[in-house]
Symmetry: C2
Subunit: 426 residues, 2 copies
Amino acid sequence: MKSYLEMNAQELTQELAAVKAQYDALAAVPRKLDMSRGKPNPAQLDLSMDMLALDPATLTHTASGADARNYGLPTGTDECKALFADLLGLKPSNIIVGGQSSLNLMYDSVARALLLGVYGGSKPWGQQGPLKFLCPAPGYDRHFAVTAALGFELISIPMTPTGPDMALVKQYAESDPSVKGVWCVPKYSNPTGITYSADTVRAFAALKPAADDFRIFWDNAYCVHCFDGQDEELLNIFDACREQGSEDMVYEFASTSKITFGGAGVSVIAASENNIKFITKQMGVQTIGHDKINQLRHVRFLKDAAGVRDHMKRHAAYIRPKFECVLNALDSEIAPLGIAHWNKPHGGYFVSYEGLPGTATRCVALCKDAGLVLTPAGAPFPYGKDPQDNVIRIAPTFPSPEELAQAMELFCVAAKLAALETLTAK
Amino acid sequence: MKSYLEMNAQELTQELAAVKAQYDALAAVPRKLDMSRGKPNPAQLDLSMDMLALDPATLTHTASGADARNYGLPTGTDECKALFADLLGLKPSNIIVGGQSSLNLMYDSVARALLLGVYGGSKPWGQQGPLKFLCPAPGYDRHFAVTAALGFELISIPMTPTGPDMALVKQYAESDPSVKGVWCVPKYSNPTGITYSADTVRAFAALKPAADDFRIFWDNAYCVHCFDGQDEELLNIFDACREQGSEDMVYEFASTSKITFGGAGVSVIAASENNIKFITKQMGVQTIGHDKINQLRHVRFLKDAAGVRDHMKRHAAYIRPKFECVLNALDSEIAPLGIAHWNKPHGGYFVSYEGLPGTATRCVALCKDAGLVLTPAGAPFPYGKDPQDNVIRIAPTFPSPEELAQAMELFCVAAKLAALETLTAK
C-alpha cells in the first residue's frame, strides 16, 4: 500500500473510486453496530454475578456492628472506605463513599462549591461572578458537560503524551482567580489512553492558584484498568501534594462502574481530611446516606485491593483482544496510508484516532450511515467542538468480537474515504 | 390523679417533691435509650431479608430487555416506575427513580432550581436575590435544614389538624415572588401524624403563586404507612391540580426507606410530564443514573402496589404495639394532669407531644440526663426554634418493646417534673 500523502491526483481519484465502492458494498448490508461509549460487554458484567449471590446474612452488618440496612453512616461503611483507601494509596479518613455514579459525586462537588463553597474558600463560587474551568482536551465529554451546564466558561488545554500542557494550566490557574478548577483523567486517560507522567503530577501539586478555592478534579476512573499486563505507574497526587502543602487542592474520584457494574456500582470521593470534614458537614444536609448494603456487597465480593486486581485480570483477558482487534485493523489498513495516528494504550477503554484535519465529522457520518454508531465527532472537546475536526474516540469493549471486526472493517473504509474526499478536494 | 392545673401551691410543691424523687430513682439506674429518630427496628428490617436472597438471574434484565447491570436508563427501569406510579396513582411517565435517599432527591431538586431553574420559570432561583421557603411547623427538621443551608429564609406556617394554615400559605405564596416553595408531609405528617384534608389539598392545588417558578415539595414519605387498619385517605394532589391546570406546581417524593431498608432503598420524584422532561434533561448532566439492580430487586420482592400494601401489614403488626405503648403511657400518666395533649396517629412514625409552654427543652434535658435520647426540643421548627418551647417528637419504633416501656416511664416522669417546675416557678 502506498501512502495517500504520496499519491498524485490521478492515483487519489482512482483510490477514491475504489474505496467508495468498498464503502457502498459495506453500507448496503444492514447492520447495527455501536462503538460510541466506554461500556462493558455483558460478558464482563457476568464476571461479577457472584456478587449478587452472596449470603444475605453477610450483608446486614458492618465490622463495627452498624446495621447496614438501617439509616446511619452517611459517609459510608468503614470496610468500603478501607477498600478504596487501599486501592488509592490513602487512609479511610480520606474517603467518602457515594452512590452508584462517580459522575454524580463530581457534579455534586461542583454544585456544592457553587452554592456553599469549598474548604478554605472565602465565599461560594457562585457568588464570584463569571467563572472558568480548565478542560484538557481531548477529554471526557461528561466532565465538560457538567461545568458547561453549571455556567462555567470552558478553557481548552491541549493534551500531550505526558498529560495536559502544564505550562498553560499553570498560566491560567495562577493568573486568574475566576479559574476554579481543572478536569483530569490521569491514568489511561479518556480518550487518549495516556497516563500522566510523574512530572505532570508534580506540576499539578505545585500549582499556586490565584483563586483560594481552586480544585483539581482528579477522576481516577481507570486506576486498575490495565489490560495487557504492562501497567503504567501514576504518581499518587496526594504524595506529591504533601511535599507542597497543597493536599487541600485535590478531589480524587473513583468507582467500581468498570470493575463490577456500571448500573449498580459504588463510587467515592477522596480528599484531604480538611476537605472530607468540610464535605461531610455539607453532605449531612444533602442526604441520609448512600446504599450501604451495596457497599458491603462490594467488599464481600472484591475483598481488598489485591482482590480487585485479581478481578481486573479477568476483565483484562476479555478487553485485551478487543483492543488488539482495533489496533491490528488500524495498523494494517490505515498506518501505511499516512492519514492518521492513534495511541496504543495499556489500559482504559478508548483508542483515540487522529485523522487528517477536517475528516472526523465526515468519517463519523459515513459510519453512521452504514450502521455503526461512534461518539459524535467533537464530543471529547469543550462545547463539542474539535478545532481540527480530526479526533474520533473508538470504544471497542461493548461490541462482541464478531461485531467489532465488522465495525473496524467499516471504520477503516470510512476513514479512508473521508481522507480521500479531503485530499481530492484540495 | 388530680389535674396539676387545679392544684394549689402547696399541692404542687408536694407533687414536685414526689415526682423529683421518682425521677432521681429512675435516673440512678444507668440506661441507654433512644427515641430520637424515626428509625425502623431491626425486626422490621428482617421483614425484607428475602429481597437480598433473590435469584441473581432475575436481577440482570428489565422487561424491555435492558441490561440493568450496565450503563443506561438514567431515569430508572420501567418496572420500578410502574410500581411507584401504581402506589401514587400516577403514570410511569410521571416518575423518575433516584438512589437510596429521597432527601437527596429533594436537595437535588432545590439545588437544580437554584443553579439551573425549573420548568416554566424565567430564570434560575439563584439569580433572583434573597429567597424564602414556607415551612409548616412542627415539621420535618431535615426539610428545613435543606432550605436553610441553601440560603432561604424559612417562613414558619402553623400546622392545624387538617394541615398547614392554608390562608397563610396562600397569603405568602400569592403576594411574594421570592417565596419559591413549601415543604409538605401530607400523610401521617412528621411529627403531628395528621393527614391533610381534601380541602387542604385542593387549596394547595388552587394556589396562584406570585412566582412563576413556585414548587410544592410534597414528601409523601408515609403513603402506605398506616399501622392500625384505619388508613386515612389523602386526596391525590395531581388530581386536584388537574382541575386547576396547576400540575406543574408539584414535586412529589416517596421512597422505600421505611418499606424495605433505610440504608439500601429506592426513592422517586413524581411530577407532571413537563417537569419530568425538564428534570430528565438536567439530570442527564448530573449522573449516569442510579442503581438499577436495586430497582429490580425491589420490584421482584414487592411485586406491585398490592404487594407493598401486604408487606406494610407486617410492619404495621410490629409498629402498632409500639404506638399503643406510647399512647397508653401518656393516657394513664399524663392525660389526667391537664399538662399536655398529643395526637393519636393511625400511621407514620411519630407522636407529637405538646406540653406546657416552656417545658420541652427542660423535659428533653431531664430525659437525656437519665439516659433517654429524644429529638432535640425545637428540632421540628425552622431554625430549631420552637416559639412555645412545648413540642417534643416521640419516635417509638427503634427501641425494643422492653426499652420502649422503660423509655415511656422515664418520659412521663420527666414531663411531669418539667411541668411542675414551671408551675411552681410562677
